[in-house]
Every structure is written in C-alpha cells, then in structure tokens.
C-alpha cells in the first residue's frame, strides 16, 4: 500500500501554485490532446485526481 505525505498550500503572496495531477492508470499511451481531457480544474488544485480514461473528464 502506498503512503502519502500531504500538505495544504496557501496563496498569501502573489506566488501561484498548480498541482501536477498524477497520470491515471490506463493513460500511459494516450496522446496529449486526450490527456488534456482528463485534467480538471480541481485536479490542478489538488482536491481530486485526474479523471480516469473513458469517464468523460473535463469538457
């Protein structure tokens, strides 16, 4: 079982942070434009995972 260390980041300064979502299983050979559809706003702020392939994902 994987263990995770996690932290919460605030944006008290003008420095902005984005989370790089983990590539979901089954996305290994997907082209860039298909991967783009799996990335959501919420996955880039770290409150959910990127969508799994075949589940619709972002608009």
């Amino acid at each position: 079982m994987r263990t995770w260390k996690y932290g919460f980041g605030t944006q008290t300064s003008e420095v902005r942070y984005l989370v790089l979502p983990e590539k979901p299983d089954g996305a290994e050979n997907m082209p860039e434009d298909a991967l783009t559809n799996l990335v959501t706003r919420n996955s880039m702020i770290g409150v959910e995972k990127a969508s799994a392939p075949g589940t619709g994902g972002a608009l």
Partner: protein, 219 residues
C-alpha cells in the same frame, strides 16, 4: 488587520458548496462583469496599487465583509478607493451625478488599454539587495503582531513555529505597499505542522504559507 477576510480556523461557515466545474460560469450576473471592468478601468489611473485595494475591501465591518458576495466586496472597496483618491466625491457617489467635469489630465481607459495592461501584468519580484536571513531548514517563529493595516500573515500563524521550506526571492512587501511605501523583502515558504497550528487532535499533515522576512524571527 484582523478583519473578516482572515478566516483561517473559523468555524460555523458550513461546507464549501462548490459549483460543479463544468457548469460554473465566469460571472453569475451581468453586473459582476461590469464590476470587474470598472475595477480594472479605475485602477488603470494609477491612483492605487493592489495592496491598497485589498486593504480597502478588508476595512469593512466584518459582518458586511462576510455577508457580501465576492464582487460586492469589490464594489465596496472600489467606492472607498474612488472617494479617498479624490477621483469622485462622497456626494457624487451618493447621488450618482457628476458635480464637475473630470480633470483634463484624466484619460478614459478602454478595452484595448485593458488587454495590453493585463498582458503586461504587474510583477512583484524585485532583485535582492541583501542575502536572505534564512536558508532552507531552520525553525522560525512568526511574530505575534496585530497591525491595523494590511498584512498577509494569517492570524493562525502568528506566534507559531515552522520550518523554512522554500525561498521565493525578494517580493514587494504588501504591508508597507498598502500605504504606498514600496519595500521588497525576501519571501519564504514556511511549513507548519497541523499539530502546531491546530493542536494535538490535528492530522499528520502540514500547511505551507508564504511569509515575508519581516514576519519571521529566528530561534
């Protein structure tokens, strides 16, 4: 200042009921679109900076700040800035009627100016004149201070100890910038354990807060 905007650690506000991402509109009403445009066009006159405008919003009564929607707080802040900068009078704000013609030096800002200005941005990082007081690793403590002006040190971090987790270089210091004094200080990412901030019942996570050097003291 310890205003209604500094919510960290406050209870009773309920769950965050976020709109689903795929249906969330940029603006929820036409007046919000106008509010954004008014703010940008007014700021283009250069009578205030971003920290002055943040402080103008935060100076409201906390009950008003919390009751207002996001763009309602922008409106209150803009009204304060327009009157305090002398661009309009309090009476003009109350009546909605101009009492005199605008100063001949004032130039109206249009959509083309906006696009260029937004593309240019407003960088806040400044070449350092002195080396940082802290490197990555040491334990620091946030000063216990309660300024009546603008600050970016959240109340829940003051008096607490954390470790320097990152250096961002020198950035304009919002506390003095909000009263039109431009100073730059080193900015750090400071890691606080959840236990340090919230007590022994907190989980094993951590909170990373960006804090300027004047907020911090070494131990």
């Amino acid at each position: 200042m310890n205003g209604g905007h500094d919510l960290g650690g406050m209870h009773g506000l309920g769950v965050i009921d976020a709109e689903p991402e795929e249906i969330e509109p940029v603006f929820h009403a036409e007046w919000e679109r106008r509010m954004l445009a008014l703010s940008l066009a007014s700021a283009a006159h250069g009578r205030w900076n971003i920290d002055v405008s943040r402080h103008a919003r935060e100076r409201q009564h906390p009950a008003d700040y919390l009751r207002n929607s996001y763009y309602e707080n922008w409106l209150v802040g803009l009204e304060t800035l327009l009157v305090e900068s002398g661009l309009i009078s309090a009476n003009e704000l109350a009546t909605g009627k101009a009492e005199a013609s605008a100063a001949p030096t004032l130039r109206a800002t249009g959509p083309a100016d906006m696009a260029a200005g937004l593309r240019k941005g407003h960088p806040v990082d400044v070449p350092p004149t002195e080396p940082p007081a802290f490197e990555i690793g040491p334990v620091v403590q946030v000063r216990n201070f309660n300024p009546t002006g603008h600050t970016r040190a959240p109340r829940y971090t003051r008096g607490r100890q954390g470790t320097i987790a990152g250096l961002h270089g020198c950035h304009i210091f919002p506390d003095t910038h909000s009263v039109e004094v431009e100073e730059a200080h080193h900015l750090y990412s400071v890691r606080f354990s959840a236990e340090e901030l919230w007590g022994s019942g907190a989980s094993g996570s951590a909170v990373f807060v960006d804090l300027w050097e004047p907020y911090l003291e070494g131990l």
